[in-house]
Symmetry: C4
Subunit: 279 residues, 4 copies
């Protein structure tokens, strides 16, 4: 028989609050986390607006410190309340949690580093963990599996789009002059994709007659090509809808195994399906 | 037995004209209302064009007074011809009717208030009540139920689009300079959504090579992502088409209960299905 | 028994050449007509290009005279070779043929009239008559019947889009200043439709923060809304594909009744299904 | 019995390496070819960027020489290792291979010719041959056959879009002035297609009220029309998915017949299905 590090009572309670959403405390914790993540991302946005940053630099910094403080405590709590800390630390969400915590500390070491802003934006990814608890995740997983099934078809599609863009971009580079914005082949390819996907900024636009004719061809191509991914995904969706009707649905809850963090246990499960640990 | 305020004859006639569209008078009333609503919205538009407002300010104002007069009378008639006035006043259309009536009166209290223009545009919503009488509302309700059924899936979809926009927008803000228009993260997110939805104004456009490369990635993502809502809605539509074939269709008429304003009574109904009042 | 004006032999031959495509002569005639229509439209285009018109005004005019001459002869031949000329003259294609013939003559009466250019472009519509003979018209009629079946749904959809555009356009007019291009409500509505349909010129673009936020909402709405017509049409297409499998196909030919110009007679028809005239 | 030129041992080995991907050597060869093709296309792109070409002209030229050398050797090897060289030389890939090899040699004859750049971009097409070996080609052929089946419908669709563009373009030319960019009918048609396909550059944009109204109509048309190809392709995809379930799948390998280059032999084939040559 396997032996696990014995968890004391407070650790079990902490585990339930942090990793699960079945108890009232767990729900409050998740809600608080949700609000703080959104808040921290809004802070990053506000700081980037020059007028706001000039006038409210101090309060913004204070709030960032509060959020960082909470994230630090949460990160430590997550480690001490789990039986196999290393498994958590190197899991996807473990790394995201760590990255979410450190930017402010790092800003004193790497003063003025712009990259830290991007790192703070990545905190948004943490939301996905909280949302896994919400009911519509079933829908999301259905979407995901439909997209997964049409993965190869979509890859072929994107591949053809790229080849087309390179060839068309090169031809447009030869036809159009530098004045119209076609200064190099990569830039022409950029223009071709802008056109093919029907985005059409207009920062670069053909000026010669033949260039405009070719642009027209690319547009109609792009207009027609968009039917392909739509067709693929639609067929895949309708397949999945039909399959689902025939499968046996198992009700799962939001518990995570205190030992290995495996999730989606059956409602009537007594042991973790992954490591056998008692739930 | 419940007791209701007894309606006199003229009140019943008024109720029939205003709330129903089965009698010739009721149809004429609805048509007149339809024309006046459209007219009042066109008036708002014309007033906003400087050249027109300068030259025709007086006739425009006169017409606005005529429309407001009619709306006022109609609003009063609606209240006195119904048995439970408060139920109407606080219903969705009751509020819309009130808001449609007051802008001109308010303009003498709140002189120069711009918001009144928007309020006048909301009159358009009144059209939906008239249209409920038109035959193609059956189709609309089919569309609505299909959209309702795919609501959660579409919410998940929009959610993913927003997360993607925030992260991509932040990265673009770091890459691109202020000159290209990426002056703050919110503005970069605005640009990302402009690109992802293939709108592509071109008021903000990446100028660096790496920025243009990332823009390309966002475009192809957006081009592919559009397949998802299309797939969802298509599958839902085809489901509803099939279900409909098996349901029992009940023919309804355009009568509204004189007591509780409940609608869509069966053609052979003698009593309101909601409050039991005789129809 | 009904009596018809007796057609002499040359009239019958002419009728066969002009109205049908089963004989070699009929095919050559249709091909010639096809080339001349395309040519006449290209002429209109070339004339509109200033550099070309300045240098080649005379040859362009000569060619226009040749085409007009042919169209005039053809129009006369169509009238004299048919038994009931008035029926042809006031038919859809009869009117189009007349309009296609007169612009050059009119240009001497209404000197410098720009509208004649548009009239000449309408000649393109004549192509549809020739194409009715081509095999893929079966496909076109399938497309058409699918679109017809989803007509009401698409009307509801466009209606909702328009209401949305008026309300959103009015709000944007209030928010954005004249400098950004939102000079009047009609122009703001124009911008809203440009945005909602994901066209996005960028000639008008929001500049305030709140305006850009609302623009973002409109874009995502437009991005999602596009799924609706696609879903409608797709479901209709798949229905029609299934129905078609069960219908009895009748083979028709390209003959037109010499008396009443009715078309799509069965291959084995001896009499016109419309007027009983011998084919 | 037919007689073939007897292949010596090294020719057979060479054939296996170059034309097949079942042996380790064949796989390495294909990978090398893949890398060189991508590299040669990147070289073309880099050369077109002025700053890069000025500073690194020499190394870029050296690399182009290395790639051309490899392609030359490969082309010769392909010819000598096959039994019927002429069949290869005039095959699609034979011509592409030849064209891929010559640009650098030609650049000494046709000094400064821009067209050679485009020719070098066509090397990308060679990738398709290598990819035929990769597993997801099955998906691609499914996509292809679905597109093929909906070919006529798509042709009708593009035809209608073009007619619409010409007529709408002509009308817009008459309405809008030269200042707005509508300088000639071809340019107006270019604008119409830009609008109809929802690309919307904004280099040309209507300025008059009526022009903007018409533009609005074109946009909503384009927004609705996009549903048609999507519907067609989706229905075709779902048909193919169903048909596939009923067909007998034959497993093929990547061998090419050493005599006639026919491909897609059954895994258990002993003779070429095309020419009977022993595999």
């Amino acid at each position: 028989m396997k032996e696990y590090k014995i968890h004391s009572g407070w650790q079990n309670t902490l585990h339930e609050v942090i990793y699960e959403a079945d108890t009232p405390m767990g729900k409050i914790f998740d809600l608080l986390l949700f609000v703080l993540i959104i808040l921290s991302v809004i802070l990053v946005m506000l700081e980037s607006v020059d007028e706001i940053d000039e006038n409210y630099h101090r309060p913004l910094l204070v709030m960032e410190w509060i959020i960082t403080g909470f994230f630090t405590l949460e990160y430590i709590a997550r480690i001490i309340s789990i039986k196999k800390p290393w498994k958590y630390i190197f899991s996807f969400y473990g790394v995201i949690d760590f990255i979410s915590t450190i930017p402010l500390y790092l800003s004193y070491i790497l003063a003025g580093s712009q990259v830290l802003i991007a790192v703070r934006a990545f905190r948004l990814l943490r939301i996905f963990r909280i949302l896994k608890l919400v009911k519509f995740m079933g829908e999301a997983s259905q979407l995901k599996s439909a997209l997964k099934a049409s993965r190869t078809k979509i890859a072929v599609f994107i591949y053809v789009v790229l080849i087309l863009s390179v060839i068309m971009g090169t031809i447009m580079y030869l036809i159009e002059s530098d004045e119209a914005g076609f200064t190099s082949i990569p830039r022409s390819i950029y223009w071709t994709i802008v056109t093919l996907t029907t985005v059409g900024y207009g920062d670069i636009a053909p000026e010669t007659n033949f260039g405009q004719f070719l642009a027209t061809v690319i547009m109609i191509l792009g207009y027609g090509i968009i039917a392909v991914p739509t067709g693929i995904v639609t067929v895949e969706f309708s397949k999945h809808g039909k399959e689902k009707a025939g499968t046996n649905v198992v009700h799962t809850n939001t518990q995570a195994c205190p030992s290995c963090t495996a999730e989606k246990h059956r409602d009537d499960a007594k042991h973790c399906y992954n490591c056998g640990e008692l739930l």
